[in-house]
Amino acid sequence: MDSVRQLEFRLIKIMGVFDLVLVGIGLLFFKEPWAFIIGVVFGSAIAALNFLQLGNTLTRAVTLPPKQAQAYTTTQYFIRFLISGVVIALSIKAPYINVLGTVLGLVSIKFIILATHLFNDKTYYKNIFKRKEDESNGH
């Protein structure tokens, strides 16, 4: 399962770079940049931990019987969901944390995955303009 860990750490490293870009945007465009920066760091730290936990969950789930794997993964999802809820509620309540920063940090993993595994693939763009009828005809 080393390859899973490698993928996780590679994406977390890219997330760090993405955070630096967000911090730069915060410094340039926000009246209170520190609240935004704290939000971004807080959100992305929790997102990284959630992502590692997701990796551990799936690594264990595939070794279980299918029904048990389904129940186990769903339970673990709701635990992560609860953690995300606490983080967002905390950032809404605390005046020194920007909510937008926290949310951007939490969902940054999605943008990174899409950017590194979908939008960098040329066949993805080619398939957008490919007609469905052509595929069925085998052309």
Binding site: E8, A61, V62, T63, Y77, A89, L106, I109
Partner: protein, 88 residues
């Protein structure tokens, strides 16, 4: 009986809205569970592909999970930082 004020109406509607938004948080959980079950079946059929299966599932599950976070953000903003109350 006192008449219902505008603020009370907004708060009540916001609470209902927050509850409805939270329904969107259930979907990714069911989806992830289903994917993991199918992944377990796949590993049972082809154990040497375990790494590939887990990696693909990890990326898909991480993208799906953020959809639940959007719902959570909407629900919590409606509950704790409702922008509509200030418009009265």
């Amino acid at each position: 009986m006192e008449p219902i004020t505008g603020k009370a109406l907004i708060l009540a509607a916001s609470a209902i809205g927050a509850g409805l938004a939270m329904i969107a948080g259930i979907g990714p959980g069911i989806g992830q569970g289903y994917a993991a079950g199918k992944g377990a079946e796949g590993v049972g059929r082809q154990p040497e592909a375990q790494g590939d299966i887990v990696r693909t599932m990890l990326l898909g599950a991480a993208v799906a999970e953020t959809t639940g976070i959007y719902a959570l953000v909407i629900a919590l903003i409606l509950l704790f930082a409702n922008p509509l109350v200030g418009m009265l």
